[in-house]
């Protein structure tokens, strides 16, 4: 059987399939604890990535007719993306492990021949201490790139650095999935 088809970049003109409402995962009327996730995507020069598609997937709450569990946000001229969604709870890990609440995030953009996948956890959640992925990353500075910080009443903030920055800012942990 043939192997999986090769990836190619989403390019700078993917906005032809952009529907801004997709960034609001509550738009079909799902009930639950609403949160926002915002942040900036930044390149190795410290410049904003202004043409990215940021995709969010969450395994909890489970997908149903009222909750797509998937969203897509453009980045704006400051590299900023924003999602409105429901706060996820913990989900099972492999074996008997439990995973701390998290979002799966994929960055697609010009200059990325294949998507870059990362996660956003919630800083301060006690389950983070035993999360299999977080606890596998020994470097605390790198681990911190996966933690969204609280911002306002129901807001969470996470910046995504595609490379180490010009002032030695830490590159986001990206995942080999």
């Amino acid at each position: 059987m043939p192997s999986a088809t090769s990836s190619q970049t989403i390019g700078p003109f993917w906005h032809l399939i952009e529907h801004p409402e997709w960034a609001d995962l509550t738009r079909f009327g799902a009930a639950g604890l609403q949160v926002t996730l915002t942040g900036r995507v930044i390149d190795g020069d410290g410049n904003p990535v202004t043409d990215a598609a940021v995709e969010l997937w969450q395994a909890d709450p489970p997908v149903d007719d009222l909750f797509p569990a998937f969203g897509r946000s453009r980045t704006d001229e400051e590299g900023r993306f924003q999602f409105k969604t429901l706060k996820p709870g913990p989900v099972p890990g492999r074996g008997n492990a439990q995973q701390a609440p998290h979002f799966a995030i994929t960055i697609l953009a010009r200059g990325l021949l294949k998507g870059l996948t990362t996660r956003a956890y919630f800083a301060g959640d006690p389950l983070n201490e035993t999360d299999p992925l977080l606890s596998s990353i020994e470097d605390a500075t790198r681990r911190a790139t996966l933690l969204a910080k609280p911002e306002g009443a129901a807001g969470w903030r996470i910046d995504i650095r595609l490379q180490r920055g010009p002032h030695a800012e830490t590159e986001t942990v990206f995942l080999d999935v």
Partner: protein, 232 residues
């Protein structure tokens, strides 16, 4: 609920993040080693799109009853996984330049005409056997600023979701016999030549409609499942 992780990609079939001939990768590719993540429910589950919430757009060649300029085409093909199992009822997103090589996009400043009758976006679903089909216009080649006198080959952008978030695929379909392919750093970024050439569709006279449109076939393969469930 499916509980089996996806298998690893075959070496050489996927492009690298750092592709020096493609300038935009320079400041956008990670320099640290990616952290390997054995698949969990987060990676093996994925979104479900329905035609009710995300209505199909199967014809890009007409807007409000008026036909776009250019060479009308029908593109079809089958989506399977690496074990040959069809991917049924999955969404396929499509976008492309018009016949002149211009995107209906504010950032596209190529001095070629826009076409108000060309709809640059499409969206279809596979049937129960994994087949998809849509009608469009053959996209034109266009210049880009990667290097001196750089031109992209004719291509259509595709986005696939499959059945799990780790099966997601965004790629481009090319046309047979395009002399720009061997000059294109994006196409050439795939190291394995046979994998690269599978991005090229082929003329298909079985769907070509007489006096109407040329048919092309392009099959797509999404990652297969691994041999053992993740609890195993």
């Amino acid at each position: 609920m499916e509980t089996t992780p996806f298998r690893a990609y075959q070496p050489g079939t996927q492009p690298p993040y750092d592709a020096p001939a493609y300038g935009s990768t320079h400041k956008r590719h990670p320099q640290e080693r990616l952290v390997r993540l054995p698949h969990t429910i987060t990676e093996i589950s994925g979104p479900r799109f329905t035609a009710a919430q995300f209505p199909p757009i199967p014809d890009l060649s007409v807007v409000a009853g008026k036909a776009a300029l250019g060479e009308r085409i029908i593109v079809h093909g089958r989506i399977t996984d690496e074990d040959g199992r069809p991917i049924p009822h999955t969404i396929v997103e499509i976008w492309q330049a018009n016949a002149s090589g211009r995107y209906q996009h504010p950032a596209d400043q190529h001095a070629a005409p826009t076409d108000p009758n060309f709809r640059g976006e499409g969206r279809v679903y596979t049937d129960a056997e994994g087949w998809y089909r849509f009608t469009s216009i053959k996209p034109g080649a266009y210049p880009w600023r990667n290097h001196d006198n750089a031109w992209r080959p004719n291509h259509i952008h595709f986005s696939f979701f499959g059945s799990g978030f780790a099966q997601r695929l965004v790629t481009q379909m090319y046309f047979p016999g395009d002399p720009l392919l061997e000059l294109d750093p994006i196409f050439l970024s795939v190291p394995d030549e046979s994998a690269r050439n599978r991005l090229v569709c082929r003329l298909d006279m079985t769907v070509t409609e007489a006096e109407w449109a040329l048919g092309y076939r392009w099959d797509v393969v999404l990652r297969g499942r691994a041999a053992t469930p993740m609890e195993g």
